[in-house]
Symmetry: C2
Subunit: 226 residues, 2 copies
DNA sequence: CTTGAATCTGCTGTTAACAATACACTCGTC
DNA sequence: GACGAGTGTATTGTTAACAGCAGATTCAAG
């Protein structure tokens, strides 16, 4: 038993994870030009695996690379961030629809339980940041995997979320939003529980759209610099 | 003048392109386990750049890699291919909508001209394969770029199209489809020309849906093995 | 003859040295 | 004094040799 193939990790994988989280958490500033050996010293690895990781990150759009000129963290403009949310809108809408068709009853029950715990989080922390950063991510993460759509999961979890989280980190969450977001989450799960894919898709798209407008408002108000 | 930054190409880039086209054209069979030095000999390069290219391709989902066990070309099941088309449906729908809002009049005129040349292609070749393989790709390519949505372009052109084309190559095109597809293309462009984003999105989604059903039918008929 | 384990080979992962290129600085000239 | 060309250095791209793991083969025992 325990026939798990013991996913052996390589240093390139470690480098990839380290860099990705470093970028997401803002330890590496967007637009910052960074040298390879500097990174090697920082994460205790050699250039071979590092370069492989850099290639992967570039391919995912978190880095930009100019030959012989070095790599720099991608800096997304305000409009590009909005475009990203437009993509999320249709992708997560699809995810919600397929999740409604395919999630098991057990998964749906778990998802509901997760929402309860999120509610507690919000109350306890009077709470803002944590929910937006992790809880919300958790919710969308589960729906994505619940879609059973390999490519969809790959894009949402592999590409989009990391970029979204990257900006969440420097985005003070607005006061009223978490509670409203939670109620929107509940309605989405209700639709999924009723196996109403069409409704789930509609609600999810509206949910993402609301989040987008929320950020847009902040940018125009000058809260978010970029 | 000529201030083009002379995009200097590195060997890793070459390796990436070579491998990608080799996979797309079916020169490397799906599921085939391939050794690194074998590839080095085949494409005249060394392991360093090759490994970097392999990392990028894995990150894009065209290869799967098991540590110490080698790489193999991804083999997509029939259901996974259908899921891919579902993703395309919503993504290209969005692309069409945004293209209707943002393409210049010149671009639209060019697109129409392209469709005319496609029509000629079909007539000349009594034609099936070429249109489906390249012309159709060209059409969708232009609409994607016309959306002016960086991330959308990145995903559609970087991830999805190569995988779609990979299966187009071993998919004998059905007789009636090209002409019908062309007329669908025309109607989409008309909607774009009228700046009717909503309609363009609807027509594009229906177009992709029809293509999906077409393939689905073939798979059930046993024409396509996978 | 089958099954199990231990070795052994070949590959992948890693490392360190080499070559080529872009950026910066200096020097010369206008 | 300002601008341009040429050189120099530092960083990236590349190559080749080393280390470690996975799978295959072989041998022995039941």
């Amino acid at each position: 038993m325990s026939e798990q193939p013991i996913q052996t990790y390589t240093r390139a994988d470690d480098a990839f994870d380290c860099l990705q989280t470093a970028i997401v958490k803002g330890e590496l500033e967007p637009g910052e030009k960074i040298g390879e050996l500097e990174l090697c010293a920082r994460f205790n690895l050699t250039r071979g695996p590092l370069r492989e990781a850099l290639g992967r990150l570039e391919s995912r759009g978190l880095l930009v690379r100019r030959p012989h000129a070095g790599v720099k963290v991608v800096s997304v403009s305000a409009t590009e961030l909005m475009e990203l949310y437009r993509v999320r809108e249709v992708m997560e809408g699809l995810a919600a629809r397929q999740a409604a068709e395919r999630m098991t009853d057990q998964e749906i029950a778990d998802l509901l339980a997760t929402l309860d715990s999120h509610e507690q989080m919000i109350e306890e922390a009077q709470g803002l940041a944590y929910y937006q950063a992790e809880g919300d991510y958790d919710f969308h993460y589960r729906i994505a995997t619940g879609s059973r759509n390999t490519k969809l999961v790959q894009i949402l979890l592999g590409d989009l979320y990391y970029m979204v989280r990257m900006y969440r980190y420097r985005l003070s969450t607005s006061a009223g939003r978490p509670l409203r977001a939670l109620s929107e989450h509940r309605r989405i799960v209700e639709a999924i529980a009723q196996r109403d894919g069409e409704l789930a898709e509609f609600l999810m798209k509206r949910h993402i759209n609301a989040a987008r407008k929320n950020i847009e408002k902040k940018i125009q108000a000058g809260v978010l610099t970029l």
